[in-house]
Symmetry: C2
């Protein structure tokens, strides 16, 4: 029951994918431990430079002989004016003051072409390094890139938050689609009608996608244990992708303050915000989110706002205060535990098997 | 596997509850057919007068010898000023014009004491008529009322949208708690921090509530078929409550325009709005919701706004136009079907059994 078309495609023992959390969470140890424990470890390479990308791939290869994957952010075109940056800085400067940071009134406006060049470099590295699996967030790469990756026999996974997005992924040639429910922590992967994110709960999203596409569907959002795995399979998914559950593991690179915030949170404390990055994302409500709330729809788009808040997030981390960090978390923080990756996966499989045997009816 | 503490308490064959949809959807035939088919039919009595309440109970009794239930709205205190009503009417009058309705600039302000008296009358009738099961939305009745109902051996079910609300229900003496996920159609049952409704997806909500309370948990929101039933059970629920799935059944009293709107909608088309009633509710986006969107947070609270829009909703129904009707729907409209209650329940149980036998692993 836990072996299916998806585990075959990915060549893994269990239908469990560790979500590719960007920003230092997916250390090489975390990724390798997931793969060594029978799941699929994923490098969150969204914020990595080409050099860092290659380095981490090499590192993970040293630590595991099992398949692992990498996730890339598909660049989106964006528009930004000097005025928008000035205005965003006006909101951010009082926070900078609280953190003893330098005031800012401008920034080097990022260039879409540069962002796209970095992405193309990363794709090249993924192919050169023969990474077995590559997944995408925030969109679908060009036909040309997809063809190149397929030529190298790399298994491709797309992200969707609606049936329409899942269909687009299938049509583009993705081998697997990860459906992200409204429960999910971190960035929303929505790429159609970007402003008006689609917030469908997994109970609704999984079966409606499964009925429409033919590629294997992986469920993501709020799944933390064997119950979530088995529920997803009942709904028609072939496996699960879990973020928050791995974020609090001992091998994760998340800041201890972030881990503690999740371990002490309840399900009502996460909110959607675009204040950190310019893209909607789910995290634990903190001082930064509350202070920015009124302005959040006026802030510049990703990646501009992300660059603007970088010094603030960094300083908050360095000062060990959760007030201005992005405390990404899904809607199930009460189910988070602090343990090793291996014991988490073992526990999950034990739970799944127990549910399965309890459920059997004549 | 489908028999458990909840089916025993309710004395039903299957752990399937038909959601008590108020406003004419839950006809006596619908309620009785659900009970006759092995589920639990529920009268949505939220908008019924005491006389109507008694009448429908008597009618259902004529049509089934199986247990059935009734749902009551727990009255919430509300404040409203003449000015608020004037201003709401200003937004509503252009819509009235489109529907050839009389313009309004005032209304009889409803009185909380009257609303509460009606509620108390309904409770009395439920006891006099020996309705086996009574559920509540929008809050928890007084200790006195709960004690009276328990004295009559009536099984009590509360509604919760968060762990905190589930705990309150358990502490108050409810026998069962229905957890309403963000996927659910119609009114949000939230009663703590009313303004800031809690929108937790079922994948997160069910296990976190199950881990905290000891009474049986019933899952509600986006559940339409055997997959949703089995998934809910994997997550720890003892049963499901389904609204939209029964709303499109032939026995339901929903307007054909409403049924058609659901049967033709997709999962991205439902939104949360408080424009119809003053309480947040999920329905299919239509002209009314879009026209009121900008003002919706300024509108009077329930039940004032509900009374204000009554003529509009009525006229829209009478004119067979969906533009100004409240088209309540959960997030799974693609899974809605037009069939009899009996065939829906039979199909659901067949699907659940099939999933169960496919899943069994050594």
């Amino acid at each position: 029951m836990l072996n299916n078309k998806m585990t075959e495609l990915l060549n893994v023992k269990y239908p469990i994918i560790q979500a590719p959390m960007a920003g230092g969470v997916t250390t090489s140890t975390l990724v390798a431990e997931v793969s060594n424990s029978g799941g699929l470890g994923m490098i969150g390479a969204g914020y990595l430079s080409p050099v860092q990308t290659r380095e981490q791939i090499k590192e993970v290869k040293q630590l595991t002989s099992h398949p692992f994957g990498i996730n890339l952010f598909v660049p989106n075109e964006f528009m930004v004016t000097e005025k928008q940056i000035k205005s965003a800085n006006q909101f951010l400067n009082p926070i900078r003051q609280q953190l003893n940071l330098e005031q800012k009134d401008s920034m080097d406006i990022p260039n879409y072409n540069d962002v796209y060049e970095t992405f193309k470099e990363q794709i090249k590295i993924v192919m050169e390094e023969n990474v077995p699996i590559c997944s995408f967030t925030f969109g679908i790469p060009s036909n040309e890139i997809i063809a190149d990756l397929k030529e190298c026999n790399i298994i491709l996974m797309g992200t969707a938050t609606s049936v329409r997005e899942a269909v687009k992924n299938e049509k583009a040639g993705m081998d697997i689609v990860v459906v992200q429910g409204s429960e999910a922590g971190g960035h929303r992967g929505s790429f159609i009608d970007g402003d008006q994110e689609s917030l469908i709960g997994l109970m609704s999203l999984i079966p409606q996608v499964v009925d429409t596409v033919n590629i294997p569907v992986v469920a993501a959002g709020g799944i933390m244990d064997g119950r979530g795995l088995m529920a997803s399979i009942c709904l028609g998914a072939k496996g699960v992708q879990m973020g928050t559950a791995f974020l609090t593991c001992v091998e994760s690179g998340a800041h201890e303050v972030h881990k503690d915030a999740i371990l002490n949170a309840n399900e009502e404390e996460t909110v959607l915000t675009r204040s950190f990055s310019g893209k909607w994302a789910r995290g634990i409500k903190n001082k930064f989110i509350l202070e920015m709330q009124k302005q959040e729809t006026l802030l510049p788009d990703y990646p501009v706002q992300n660059t603007l808040t970088q010094d603030i997030r960094k300083a908050s981390s360095a000062q060990n205060t959760q007030d201005f960090m992005s405390l990404w978390s899904g809607q199930s923080p009460r189910l988070a535990t602090s343990q090793t990756v291996n014991s988490l996966i073992k526990k999950l499989i034990r739970e799944a098997k127990k549910i399965n045997s309890n459920m059997y009816m004549e």
